[in-house]
Assembly symmetry: C2
Homo-oligomer: 452 residues x 2
């Protein structure tokens, strides 16, 4: 492998330019900005490393980009990434322009660099290195890039149903990202939480009014506050009837793994300017809550007049909130949405509408799967340390639809992100060194997975 | 009086142009737009009807415009108006440009026309008519225009203290507005509710995060929802300890007046697209709540990502809310603000900050005051009906500081507004006929108040 690793070192600058090019193309799915352009850039990057690539239109959605490249081994490795990114707002909190992809202080700063264009491009670079050094890849690779991950992968389940023959068979799937924990150890994730993302809305009168009218006219903001208050109590217990019914307790093996999983609490708290964790938790309890407990999060709430320092005495006539529930096996996102509706009705809030914006099943892969072993070996060779293997991570993604639902084992990749990558937030970043090591890790993984 | 009323009719077009000119000058105090220009326009209008006028700068605030004009009677009538307006947002809901002051379908449509430039200008027009017909006014008039009413009259109390000799003595004060109820009867208000307007804010981590972190990182939006939920229950009972301690029950006389005060519930409900009033109230109970009960209103709440239909899985790090409490005699706004702080601390919300943005005392004038009788007589002569005299209205203003605190009786004017004037909302408007009758009413009032 040393020849390929050396080649990657020699081509650092070119590979950095490739990630910059990808990050400089905005591709904000929620605002439908730059989607087609980014899909075309993906195809052209894939073709640039010798893959057969195609942009597959999705009716009413953003296209999927498929790429395929053959190797001598019968093994087929799927690689999943998404080419869309979160909106960059709030813009005034960025230290450099979010789509400039500036390299500064050893990091690349850009919206989407960690989530997940840095990973997407690193995997292409690994193919580039193999082909330029050895002439061909050691195994078959199939790239699957979606453009709706940040808006809940609405159409991916349907895409899988309609195109199953094009994405199977496969012996494993490398999931979108991968990264280090606070101790600098690469963490391999064998599962993802699911998600149920809903929008609540309520309207009272037909117009905003002078707030003096609050004596006799209902206020939608109060309706929403009272309703939300019935969703979760201050002990973080979700009060939606039936919410926890399908939650699986962690197995003894999972608890043991978690016990051994390092988590630098002090570092996390310092990084994010916090005095303590939620509920004052620490140690194993904190880790169990993080990994194996579902959430119910207000991602947004809005009503009335909110200009900072401003004074407008208005009685608003509408209020809305966005609620994100991260689900654990075996919770079902559509069932959860129905539970929310029933809960609101039961508590007298039938005036509040519920709209399901995204639904994804939780997913889990066997910790002993050959793919997990191959990624772990790649980490050992490139990073020189033993990776931390975890059964599930708190994030979400369409892993279930694309992998477990069609019997493909799946695990995250051998590196790239860092705990301060600020994904979904201003100043998203990736260390240049982590990016380069991510390329090397993928290159080794190709060899290791071709062997097993 | 007929000569003066005829003159007003003959000068309709000129008087309509005057109100249009005043409304076409934006003067948004909360955004500090057009304030100085509007103060100068006020001075020039006052000088145009022969008043001695002066713009008095207010340190750290918006200037007060004072005008004075002499008459033969020893009586001095103060007239209070404000030349600032609310922000026009949301702009897309306006049927015509908010500062175009278009005349359409018998109404003038403009931000501020009903609250309260239409009244401010009508009173100048009444002086204009008297001087052009009779050569002089029957009594002394003092105009007091402030530029901070819509941002809580922050500096008016201090202005009164520092300039008491310039605004006293006075035998009465005509308050800012005046208008009809749903039955088309002019309503005279002898008092105003007070206000305590506060901004709550809470910050958790030092950055927005990916919402998967909600397992272990506190969410300011939840903190705010839980805190607000302790402020008021679904029965509209304010739960802030001590909030009701100083609330005076309505007297038997006040209850009797209220019993006789018409309120067309069906018309109100239809106008505002409502099925029922708050708590399903009606009749005397509804009126008592409207007039004599304080409020606790969410005027604004905001946290996280709120683009309609958008999906951003973010754990926000800040949340804020604007709360407006309309107070009744003898509640004290600064005391109420302290009660809120103590309430938050007592309920474990010492992480939530409270900022007092506006504080005004409730105010009440004796229903038998000579000024009240004079305005009532003006309504009879111009409108041909008996006005409805109410002890207090649900709105607020700096009446206490400018009148009752320095022993000046105060009552609203003889007309102008209508129940569908949409003050503080899009499509604010005033009927042209009401505006003209407002001028006539003031002209008659000058004569009546000079006599008593």
């Amino acid at each position: 492998m040393q020849d390929i690793l050396d080649y990657i070192e020699e081509n650092r600058e070119r590979y950095i330019e490739m990630i910059q090019t990808a990050c400089q193309q905005p591709s904000i799915s929620t605002q439908n900005i730059g989607i087609q352009e980014m899909a075309e850039l993906c195809r052209s990057m894939l073709e640039g490393v010798g893959a057969r690539a195609e942009i597959i239109p999705i009716e009413g959605g953003h296209p999927v980009v498929l790429g395929e490249i053959d190797g001598p081994s019968p093994r087929m490795l799927n690689i999943y990434n998404h080419y869309d990114v979160q909106p960059p707002e709030p813009l005034d909190l960025w230290w450099s322009e979010p789509f400039a992809a500036e390299v500064r202080d050893g990091r690349i700063w850009a919206r989407g660099v960690a989530d997940n264009k840095g990973h997407l491009v690193a995997r292409i670079c690994a193919v580039d290195a193999w082909r330029n050094v050895r002439g061909e890849l050691p195994l078959n690779i199939r790239f699957i890039y979606e453009g709706e991950e940040e808006i809940g992968s609405t159409n991916l389940e349907r895409f899988v149903e309609e195109n199953r023959a094009r994405i199977t068979p496969a012996d494993g799937c490398i999931w979108e990202g991968g990264g280090k924990d606070f101790n600098g150890r690469v963490r391999l994730s064998c599962g993802l939480k699911g998600i149920c993302y809903i929008e609540l809305a309520v309207t009272c009168a037909n117009t905003d009014m002078h707030s003096s009218r609050a004596t006799i006219v209902p206020n939608p903001a109060w309706r929403l506050v009272w309703a939300l208050n019935t969703f979760k109590d201050a002990n973080e217990q979700v009060l939606i009837e039936g919410f926890y019914d399908k939650v699986l307790e962690p197995t003894v093996e999972e608890q043991n793994i978690l016990e051994e999983t390092p988590f630098d609490e002090a570092e996390f708290l310092e990084t994010f300017g916090m005095d303590s964790f939620l509920l004052g938790l620490s140690g194993q309890q904190l880790k169990i809550k993080d990994m194996f407990q579902p959430t119910c999060t207000i991602c947004g709430i809005e009503s009335g007049f909110n200009e900072p320092g401003g004074l407008k005495t208005v009685l608003p006539n509408t209020a809305s909130a966005k609620i994100d529930m991260r689900l654990v096996p075996d919770q079902d996102p559509r069932e959860i949405c129905e539970l929310v509706r029933a809960h609101l009705d039961r508590h007298g809030f039938d005036d509040i509408s519920v709209k399901l914006l995204a639904a994804e099943h939780p997913a889990k892969t066997d910790l002993d799967a050959p793919l997990v072993g191959a990624v772990a070996e790649a980490v050992r060779q490139v990073q020189g340390h033993e990776p931390v293997i975890v059964p599930i991570t708190p994030g979400s993604g369409p892993m279930y639809a694309l992998c477990q639902a069609i019997d493909i084992p799946s695990v995250s990749g051998p590196g790239g992100g860092n705990p301060d990558s600020k994904i979904h937030a201003p100043n998203e970043n990736m260390y240049v060194e982590d990016y380069i090591n991510g390329i090397k890790g993928m290159a080794v993984l190709f060899e290791e997975f071709a062997k097993v």
